[in-house]
């Protein structure tokens, strides 16, 4: 019988978990070093690919061949050029280079190897991962030979895990999940009743994580190095090396007040001391972002800090003392500690995988997770472009009409009636939109699908068109545009089964050996 698997595909670290025979989620250790988290780093060496901590080791010697933070590129049209050692815009000429989905597939393949007989899995993504990035994640899984049961939002998975823990059963009420990983930050407010988790809202920043703190540390180190030697560090060409050093300093500063590190630069090795206070000062802007997003999540859920009973921590970056201090400041109480913040997401994903494939569970597993229930929300505004009168501009403008609001509990179905604006109109163009903010402006929304509904006959303007959007729990959007008079329909399910060039991508990497 194939295993019930959950995978946390993170920016800096990834983890895989499975439900053991008793239904308890168990994070699996790496076959290389017995660690339960694996660096999301990939070292491309000829026809071989090395994934994990070993790949990080190669940063010193072959920095251009080591790819890190791939998750941040999942929504972009870029490819990794080993020659240039960076992500470059994708075009026809460089089609043979590695896409973010291909690199992610290497990481997934590596993780898959920690368990035997993995075919199906639930993979976690940041709550605010764009549609494109979600599709890229699905593609990566396919290339790695994993059938994705469902994608689940990371904070939701974490909440699911917390809710299922026997020793935290006392957690009930409104909970704030604070998920600060290596590359992304998600803050989710949910209601936990027993083992039931109902997500109320999620906010986040896809470009805010431990890596951003490391960058600030590099700048700080550079300033100090310059002060001592008068020369600046060559950060651009030794980026990965300095990032590693910065991460090291950051870890130490989480437990000590200062750290002295030997920094190799154009003027030789210098000893640089960084205090915790200096570090905290350098990341103030990021801290402000965290505060704003927490405030927004509270506003979005209609709650005040006093109404939230606990703040749960997820992600390695929550170990930084200023983070917990900030949380305490905003939430007016300290966050809950005592759970392994690196493993909660993967473990939650494994539980969710169990829920989604109950027929594969044994009796003990069924019993263990039988009470866990999950209610997620839509993390985007979904709408369509329409023409409407702008009374100020005194003309018709194209604007975005929202059908499904952000934070609507899933599954959600919403309908609206539109009308044609011209006599004898032959068709309507269909633009299905997605946006993170409540945008009316068409420039600021993503069009995730375009189509056309043709009419078989001619009618005066004002012809009614019924539009219905249904968004299911797996994140699939089903849209129907129906002409009321003739019942002609344009129907589409969005969550493309695979990107167009998935097969080519797969063929390009199928001969590669993954270590």
């Amino acid at each position: 019988m194939s295993k019930i698997i959950g995978i946390d595909l993170g920016t800096t670290y990834s983890a895989i978990a499975q439900l053991d025979d008793l239904g308890t989620p168990e994070v699996l250790a790496s076959t290389d070093n017995n660690k339960k988290i694996t660096a999301s780093s990939v070292y491309i060496k000829d026809q071989n690919v090395i994934v994990g901590d070993k790949a990080l080791d190669a940063l010193e010697t072959a920095p251009k061949q080591v790819i890190t933070e791939t998750k941040r590129q999942m929504e972009n049209d870029v490819v990794y050029s080993v020659d240039e050692g960076k992500w470059i815009d994708k075009d026809e000429k460089n089609k043979d280079y590695y896409s973010p989905a291909q690199i992610s597939s290497f990481i997934l393949s590596k993780l898959k190897g920690y368990a035997s007989d993995v075919k199906k899995a639930v993979i976690t993504v940041p709550a605010l991962f764009a549609e494109k990035a979600r599709v890229a994640t699905l593609d990566a899984a396919k290339m790695a030979g994993i059938e994705v049961i469902s994608l689940i939002n990371e904070p939701t998975a974490a909440a699911c895990y917390y809710a299922s823990l026997p020793n935290v059963k006392k957690i009930t009420g409104k909970i704030l999940v604070f998920d600060l990983g290596g590359g992304t930050f998600d803050v989710t407010v949910c209601e936990v009743r027993g083992e039931e988790v109902e997500v109320i809202t999620s906010r986040g920043d896809k470009w805010l994580g431990g890596k951003d703190f490391d960058k600030e540390l590099i700048n700080l180190i550079n300033e100090k190095y310059k002060k001592i030697s008068g020369k600046e560090l060559d950060i651009e060409n030794h980026y990965s090396k300095y990032m590693e050093v910065a991460e090291q300093i950051k870890r130490v500063l989480s437990v000590r007040d200062k750290q002295t590190e030997k920094i190799d630069g154009p003027d030789g090795v210098k000893e640089i001391e960084i205090t915790r206070a200096e570090f905290e000062q350098s990341i103030q802007t990021h801290i402000e972002k965290l505060k704003m997003l927490m405030e927004e999540a509270l506003d979005g859920s209609g709650l005040k800090a006093e109404n939230v009973s606990h703040t749960l921590l997820v992600g390695g970056s929550t170990r930084i003392p200023i983070i917990t201090k900030t949380i305490e400041q905003v939430m007016k109480k300290p966050p809950l500690k005592g759970v392994n913040v690196d493993e909660a997401v993967a473990a939650g994903a494994a539980i969710y995988a169990g829920l989604k494939s109950k027929k594969n569970l044994n009796d003990a597993q069924k019993k263990a997770i039988s009470n866990v229930k999950l209610q997620d929300v839509c993390n985007f505004y979904l709408g369509t472009l329409v023409q409407e009168d702008d009374p100020v501009l005194n003309r018709k403008v194209t604007s975005n009409l929202i059908l499904i609001d952000r934070d609507t509990p899933l599954p959600a179905t919403k309908s609206s009636r539109l009308v044609t604006i011209y006599d004898d109109q032959e068709a309507i163009s269909i633009d299905i939109t997605q946006s993170e903010g409540r945008e009316k402006n068409r420039e600021f929304v993503n069009i995730i699908h375009q189509g056309e509904l043709k009419f078989p006959d001619k009618k005066p303007k004002g012809r009614p068109i019924d539009v219905t959007y249904t968004y299911d729990t797996s994140g699939k959007l089903h849209c129907i545009f129906e002409d009321e008079a003739t019942k002609e329909k344009y129907e589409v399910s969005i969550r493309p089964e695979s990107a167009e060039d998935l097969r080519k991508n797969y063929e390009a990497i199928e001969h590669i050996m993954i270590e």
Binding site: D77, W207, E288, K289, V392, S435, E436, G437
Partner: protein, 871 residues
């Protein structure tokens, strides 16, 4: 000795009875034998404590003897939050169960609302009705049979309750139902909501109910009756309230109908409903009784007195006008004037003294007597001031024409006519208001209201003149209109109300082979002057030119609001048996007036056949191939019958006009000089970068093709070249004065053109994919001086600059890009920055790389500034 239990009066309990969220078995034959629990709300206070099948024997030691009423009595003594002890029989054993009742708030959260009424009939579960909590109407109809809930078969109420007990708020329920009529099986799902949400939904539904008064009353009574919990038949009451406006309308309309919908003829069911819908102080009046019972009713007398009727000797009208003593034309018997109080009523046999018997008996007497006798004698007290000898009078009254309350209303109408000189429209409104003031949710009728009506400009509808009627002529259509200012669909608009639109029969009469249209044109009649017109007329001069110069049609730039010629018109085809509008809106933004300032508009409504033509240039209707100015003449000469009465215009079936004043805050179309506008646009565009000579040449190239003068004549092109040359040279010498340009532009541009200019300037500024501080300041100033909406401007700027690089903004960046100014408090600044951060952060997902990159920059900028302000 029994110690009297001291029950604390807890306000929460008094307002909301304590609920244990359980239900008892109901014997279909209504012979309840025991308090057998058949439903327990999952997640409610009783969940886990009580079990299905338990039989409640006592509460807090007091036996409830298997009676729900006793159970309720005991529950009534309990306060929310109390712990109660229930003695229950469970599997033939007696057990004591403790339940803590928590709070009503908790109940609201945990009580699941199903919103559906299902009854067991002939061993089938029949859906009787449903509420508004779910979209039931999409799936079911009353009469459908419930087959399954979440795949569990439901064959009885017991099954239903058992199944319902399994679910709590938030659970998904799948119904399987059968539509007997067409043997169709359907499945649909709902997600159970809690009572708290159901209250909100009900409130919303009541607020949106088309009969506002009924909606408000319904929600109020529902809340007052502890959400129907304290009402013995809430559903019945709900139906009653829904009929409120219908009943009130019928009541006040009785006198106007020719089909004698007299209240005395109403069915008892309706009369009972009428009583329930009256204000409490009028509920003991039986409006089904005859006129005498009502006219001597002390409550009605008091109500009439409050209108100062007495002073005007109105009781004489009421008592003698058309009913008592015969015809209206007869002199009012002197001895009944100044009626104050009824003393006794007498028929041939007996005399009844009013003070000695009850109202009911008196009413009974009148009723009996009116049906059988012709005359009665009354003794009454009269007002001393008006009657010098004695204040006790006697008269004989005839009952022959006695009808009912309608006569009071009708006679009151005569009084309004006599005292206030009301026309028919005002009389109708006043009497209607008086009648409706007996009802719940309708305001009292008082002198203030009479004064209001007096000031209203209500016109009588033209009356049909029998003498003009010829049997082969169709009925004439008389539409009437009124216009007001109102926000429609979020837009400030003029709303034209259409009364007496042709009925289907009338359309049928007229549209043999021809389509019938309703058309509304608007004219600016501010400059029409009666004296000038008559002077021209007297001098025998052509009045046409006068109208052409002084009465202009309203235009529009939106082609969909015109018939292709720029003249604003609303056209609706009136089709048989199809919906006909009763109101039409004209958004302000669609109107182009001829002149700036305070203007008077005339909304002219035509009902006409498709053969009626209207002039392409000014919208006036055409007869004998030329435009007609009859509407203007009609306006100035005040033809009392309306100009279409003359029958000169066979294709115009009816006409009406209504006037309203408006302040037009932009230059009118007669005042705008298009060339001037374009000249200024060129000047402004060149002023944008006039400090930078290198840029000017490039700018000129960009402007050259973008500015269009609209006229492609040779002369027009020459004008454009000259304007470009002149302004270019000025800009090179830095001679373009921004303040002067803006001053002129304000005079020569309409609002949407000002936005076009902003658009144009932003395009110009960002063409090189950068946006600098100087350009930003310049465009900010233009926007400010042209009085554009700040938010709209910021939005356009945000859109235009979202994918370009910001240059040289320096320290003032926040002011420039986030709209923060020095006068704002710290909190206001923090709030704006959070909003901006949130907005840009959301855009980091955008598929456009440029926008994405810009969004990241702006997001960091907002966060950075907030960090500084937070210190």
């Amino acid at each position: 000795m029994i110690k009297k239990q001291n029950i604390k009066r807890n306000p929460q309990r008094l307002k909301h009875k304590v609920r244990l969220d359980i239900e008892f078995y109901e014997d279909p034959k209504n012979k309840k034998i025991e308090l057998l629990i058949v439903f327990i709300q999952k997640g409610g206070v009783s969940d886990g404590k009580l079990l299905l099948g338990d039989i409640i024997k006592s509460i807090n030691g007091i036996a409830v003897n298997n009676k729900e009423i006793q159970f309720d009595n005991e529950i009534n003594k309990i306060n929310w939050g109390d712990e109660i002890i229930l003695e229950v029989e469970r599997k033939n054993k007696i057990q004591n169960i403790k339940i803590k009742t928590l709070s009503f708030e908790n109940y609201k959260k945990t009580h699941a609302v199903w919103g559906i009424d299902i009854k067991e009939e002939k061993k089938q579960m029949v859906i009787k009705s449903y509420g508004i909590e779910y979209n039931y109407s999409n799936y079911i109809e009353p009469g459908d049979i419930l087959l399954e809930i979440n795949s569990v078969k439901i064959n009885s109420l017991n099954d239903l309750n058992k199944e319902k007990s399994k679910y709590k708020v938030g659970d998904t329920i799948e119904f399987k139902i059968e539509r007997k009529k067409i043997s169709q099986i359907k499945k649909f799902k709902i997600k159970l909501i809690n009572f708290q949400k159901a209250i909100l939904l009900n409130k919303k539904s009541c607020d949106n109910y088309w009969i506002k008064k009924a909606g408000t009353l319904m929600f109020k009574e529902w809340v007052d009756s502890d959400y129907g919990y304290n009402h013995k038949d809430w559903l019945g009451r709900r139906e009653e309230i829904l009929k409120l406006e219908t009943i009130a309308e019928r009541f006040s309309d009785a006198r106007h109908t020719e089909n004698s919908d007299y209240i005395k003829d109403w069915k008892n069911k309706d009369a009972k409903l009428l009583t329930k819908l009256l204000k409490p102080e009028y509920r003991d009046i039986n409006f089904k009784l005859n006129f005498f019972s009502l006219v001597f009713n002390s409550k009605i007398i008091t109500k009439l007195k409050s209108l100062n009727l007495k002073k005007e000797c109105c009781y004489s009208y009421i008592l003698t006008g058309k009913v008592i003593g015969g015809d209206w034309d007869k002199d009012v018997p002197a001895n009944i004037k100044n009626f104050e109080k009824l003393i006794s009523v007498k028929d041939k046999k007996k005399e009844i003294f009013v003070d000695e018997i009850s109202d009911v008996s008196l009413n009974f007497f009148f009723n009996e007597m009116v049906d059988k006798k012709k005359d009665i004698f009354i003794k009454y007290k009269s007002d001393n001031k008006f009657w010098k000898f004695s204040n006790k009078k006697q008269t004989k009254l005839s009952t022959i024409q006695s009808l009912g309350f309608e006569d009071i209303a009708t006679n009151l109408g005569y009084w309004f006519e006599s005292k206030y000189k009301f026309n028919k429209a005002k009389i109708k409104l006043a009497v209607d208001d008086f009648c409706r003031s007996f009802f719940l949710e309708y305001p009292d009728f008082d002198l203030e209201r009479i004064k209001e009506i007096e000031k209203m400009d209500l016109q009588d509808e033209p009356e049909y003149d029998e003498n003009d009627y010829s049997s082969d002529h169709q009925n004439k259509i008389y539409i009437s209109t009124s216009v007001s200012k109102k926000k429609v669909a979020g837009k400030e608009s003029f709303l034209v109300k259409l009364n007496n639109l042709p009925t289907d029969e009338e359309i049928e009469d007229y549209n043999i082979g021809k389509k019938i249209y309703l058309k509304i044109y608007i004219y600016d009649i501010t400059d029409l002057d009666e004296d000038s017109f008559f002077k021209i007329q007297e001098n025998g001069e052509d009045t046409r030119q006068y109208f052409l110069n002084n009465c202009h049609v309203i235009k529009t730039e939106d082609l969909s609001w015109s018939e292709g010629n720029g003249i604003l018109v609303q056209t609706v085809e009136l089709n048989l048996y199809e919906y006909k509008p009763t109101e039409l809106a004209f958004p302000y933004s669609k109107l182009q007036l001829p002149k700036y300032g305070k203007r008077k508009l005339s909304f002219r409504t035509f009902i006409c056949t498709e053969d009626q033509k209207f002039d392409e240039n000014d919208g006036r209707f055409i007869t004998n191939d030329s435009p007609t100015f009859r509407s203007e003449e009609y306006l100035l000469e005040s033809y009392s019958e309306g100009f279409d009465e003359y029958g000169d215009y066979t294709d115009i079936l009816s006409y009406s006009s209504s006037e309203i004043e408006v302040e037009y805050k932009q230059p009118g179309y007669l005042e705008i000089n298009r060339r001037k506008y374009n000249d200024l646009k060129i000047a402004l565009s060149l002023a944008l970068n006039q400090d930078d000579k290198n840029d000017q040449k490039a700018n000129l190239e960009k402007i050259k093709d973008s500015v269009r003068y609209g006229d492609f004549t040779v002369e027009g092109n020459i004008h454009k070249i000259l304007s470009l040359k002149k302004n270019y040279e000025k800009s090179l010498n830095r001679k373009l004065n921004l303040d002067n340009i803006l001053k002129d532009l304000k005079k020569n541009s309409v609002i949407h053109e000002r936005y076009e200019i902003i658009d144009f300037l932003l395009n110009l500024a960002t063409k090189d994919e950068t946006f600098n501080s100087k350009e930003n300041k310049f465009i900010d100033k233009v926007s400010h001086e042209l009085e554009l909406n700040k938010e709209k401007y910021q939005e356009i700027k945000k859109q235009k600059t979202s994918s370009v690089k910001f240059v040289d903004f320096g320290e003032e960046v926040e002011e420039s890009v986030f709209g923060i100014n020095k006068d704002m408090t710290k909190d206001e600044k923090l709030k704006i920055l959070r909003k901006e951060y949130s907005r840009w952060n959301a855009l980091t997902n955008n598929t456009d790389k440029m926008i994405r990159e810009r969004a990241k920059e702006m997001r960091d900028l907002a966060a950075n500034l907030r960090t500084q302000y937070s210190k």
